[in-house]
């Protein structure tokens, strides 16, 4: 006859709730009971695991990241609309929803429908008074607010539709038809309701003919606009048009469009951008790519010419600066721009641009860049050398921090998964723990990659095709350039296993 272990008594003993007599009785019982001995042993193992978990340091959340996400919210919750939440049904929204406010209702309804189809346990009986439940609530869509200015520096003008231009105020509302102008040595940033952000460089003139959430169109008459586009749904679009007929069409990315009467340039720092010339696809740009076109000015512009044509030099070129995590900022004409975002600067062709690069300690070094082409790139190596990071590998190596490495590895998991899935076809029970040893070159590319150690649980060891595939995949990874003159060694443990193995 089987015997159920005395779990309740064991728990009570572990929590010190048993009397001395009860403890003695339990001890006597456990000595002669295999089931209880096994349960007690399991209890001790669980306590060991629990202790290990107590010593585990949880990942730290970064306030800066949260603050950026809050700023990208359609509405500032504490200030706008929250007071209306109680009167709204407490809908459950999909996670990480940063879609525009007017989509919230539909998304909440869809989420509610989806959740209603999920298997769930019977609802708990409401035996007790319920305090106010912090359900994940919608923000009341009191009013469509499609975007607003989040930074106004210097001479920034705003006009609604055909209305007159007037000085722009911080938080000024953007609507379809809004037009923005920045004067010399001025800048403006705007946040759109879907979380996208645009930054107008000095001397920029643009219009926002469509800003209805699903379709964002920016018409750039002149100047330069940096774009950070939130991920778009299939039905949504985000396009920047120039008066010369070029269109940059994106689906969640970071890119810069620069245009003048003679040139149009697009440089992409993240994601993919399609460039269209009068609706015809002429280029598809990936991260690091740039596009430049020279064109004769049209006799009749398709929209109003720049507000101050005299500010536009007749022959403009550009300088493209890469994203540089080792520097704090680029400084151009006494304006600082975050170096980690990269920068495109317009300047007269044939001139020399005085560029400042502020290092991690706040020290600025200057570099003169001749503007010899429509988009003159400045190499990362040149900038690192300027910062003095080229000669000392130690200083540079510190820049390749764990978070940067983690980010690259996360991005490479999908390709590694494909390697593993292919091997699973011939080795269905394959499960392995491997230690990858990589050598990251100063450029960020992987120079060498080997499987330094492995512990496989499949018979016959790690399959050759899997090893080769893993090494090939890892060698294709590109890390942020650590700089310096010497490579950096990394060790990355990887655990390959299937979900079936997890559930066994």
């Amino acid at each position: 006859m089987s015997h159920s272990p005395k779990i309740r008594a064991l728990i009570a003993a572990a929590e010190g709730r048993l009397s001395a007599a009860g403890q003695a009785r339990l001890t006597r019982h456990v000595e002669g009971c295999n089931a209880c001995r096994r349960a007690q042993s399991a209890q001790q193992r669980y306590d060991t695991l629990r202790t290990a978990a107590h010593h585990e340091e949880p990942p730290a959340l970064r306030w800066e990241a949260l603050e950026a996400a809050i700023d990208a919210e359609p509405q500032s919750a504490a200030a706008q609309g929250v007071a209306d939440v109680d009167s709204q049904p407490a809908d459950v929204l999909p996670l990480r929803s940063q879609r525009p406010v007017w989509l919230v209702g539909a998304l909440a309804a869809a989420a509610a429908l989806a959740l209603s189809l999920l298997p769930s346990e019977p609802p708990a009986q409401p035996e007790r008074a319920q305090p106010s439940a912090p359900q994940v609530a919608t923000v009341a869509p009191a009013r469509r607010r499609l975007g607003q200015l989040s930074l106004v520096a210097g001479d920034v003008q705003i006009a609604q539709g055909a209305g007159p231009f007037e000085p722009a105020q911080l938080h000024a509302e953007l609507r379809p038809g809004t037009r923005l102008r920045t004067g010399a040595a001025s800048a403006a940033h705007a946040t759109l309701a879907d979380g996208s952000a645009i930054a107008l460089e000095a001397g920029t003139d643009l219009a926002l003919p469509s800003l209805d959430g699903d379709h964002v169109d920016i018409t750039l008459a002149s100047g330069s606009v940096r774009n950070a586009v939130a991920h778009l749904a299939r039905s949504e679009s985000y396009e920047v048009h120039t008066r010369s007929g070029f269109t940059a069409r994106v689906r969640g990315t970071r890119f810069v469009v620069t245009t003048s009467s003679d040139d149009t340039g697009v440089s992409v720092s993240e994601g993919v951008v399609q460039v269209l010339d009068h609706e015809k696809l002429v280029a598809e740009l990936h991260a690091g790519d740039s596009f430049a076109a020279h064109h004769a000015p049209e006799p009749a512009a398709r929209f109003e010419p720049p507000h101050a044509p005299e500010l536009e030099p007749p022959q403009l070129g550009g300088v493209v600066l890469p994203r540089l995590s080792q520097a704090q900022a680029y400084v151009v004409a006494e304006h600082a721009y975050p170096a980690r975002e990269g920068l495109a600067v317009r300047a007269p062709l044939g001139s020399t641009l005085a560029l400042g690069v502020v290092d991690a300690r706040g020290v600025m070094r200057t570099l003169n860049v001749p503007v010899s082409a429509r988009l003159t790139p400045v190499s990362r190596e040149r900038l690192l050398a300027l910062l003095g990071l080229g000669a000392r590998g130690e200083a540079a190596a510190q820049e390749l921090g764990p978070e940067a490495v983690r980010s690259v590895v996360r991005g490479g998991i999908l390709a590694l998964r494909r390697c593993y899935e292919r091997s699973l076809r011939s080795h269905p029970d394959l499960s392995a723990r491997v230690l990858l040893r990589l050598q990251v070159l100063p450029s960020g590319r992987v120079g060498q990659a080997i499987i330094a150690e492995q512990r496989e649980r499949a018979r016959g060891g790690l399959p050759d095709d899997l090893s080769a595939c893993v090494v090939k995949t890892v060698r294709a990874w590109t890390f942020p350039a650590p700089g310096g003159s010497e490579p950096v060694d990394l060790e990355v443990p990887i655990h390959l296993r299937s979900l079936d193995g997890l559930l066994k």
Binding site: S41, E56, L61, Y420, L499
Partner: protein, 218 residues
């Protein structure tokens, strides 16, 4: 349980009025509590993103907090809601997993640990996650709040909005199922034995995880 925010009503009120500094202080006071809870409920690799999501929702919903419950109770409840939603989304994803240990980055380790011994340490935490995964959502939440967050059954009852006796019952059956699973878990027992019988910590390795190489060939 001590409520770290028991005396912070002013902070909450200020944050409700849109005071960003006050909200930051709330975030700093409670982010550890949230991530520790999430570590036992969802895959560690997702903790950072979901933790941020929790505080985004706190920011959106703080206006609805009326002080009927303690802030920590309210925050735990919100965290559980968001963790549940995250897990439901996860279930619809492909069934194959490939997990770099400790999120795939270079691991922080003491000098006396090798990468693989560190990996084994991570394996014990993975084993714990695997065990907790076997429990139903409600039992797991009760157990985690009790055993890992240090909440009493009464406090858990407030968080999960269930009677105290229900919570106690969930705790009992959660433990019973865990002990049964642990008895069966040969692999885990093997790990525990091997770790337990090691004569000492492994010898230190000369090379750190992250270092500039000196022209050393691999």
């Amino acid at each position: 349980m001590s409520d770290p925010l028991a005396g912070d009503q002013l902070l909450i009120e200020a944050a409700q009025r849109g005071d960003r500094v006050a909200f930051r202080k709330l975030f700093e006071a409670h982010s550890g509590q949230v991530t520790r809870l999430l570590c036992r409920l969802i895959p560690r690799v997702d903790v950072e993103d979901v933790g941020q999501e929790v505080f985004l929702h706190v920011h959106r919903s703080l206006g609805t907090f009326r002080g009927d419950a303690r802030f920590s109770t309210w925050l735990y409840r919100l965290t559980l809601n968001i963790a549940r939603m995250h897990l439901r989304k996860q279930r619809s994803r492909p069934s194959l997993t490939l997990t770099p240990d400790e999120e795939g980055g270079p691991l922080e380790r003491s000098e006396s640990e090798t990468p693989l011994s560190l990996s084994e340490r991570g394996e014990r935490l993975e084993a714990l996650s695997r065990l907790l995964d076997r429990l139903s959502e409600k039992k797991r939440e009760a157990l985690v709040l009790h055993d890992f967050q240090g909440l009493s059954a009464e406090e858990i009852a407030d968080v999960v909005e269930a009677p105290v006796m229900t919570v106690r019952t969930r705790l009992f059956y959660a433990r019973k199922e865990l002990y049964a699973a642990l008895s069966e878990e040969e692999a885990l027992a093997g790990i525990e034995r091997s770790v337990g019988t090691l004569p000492g910590r492994p010898a230190p390795r000369p090379e750190p995880t992250l270092s500039p190489s000196k022209g050393r060939s691999q």
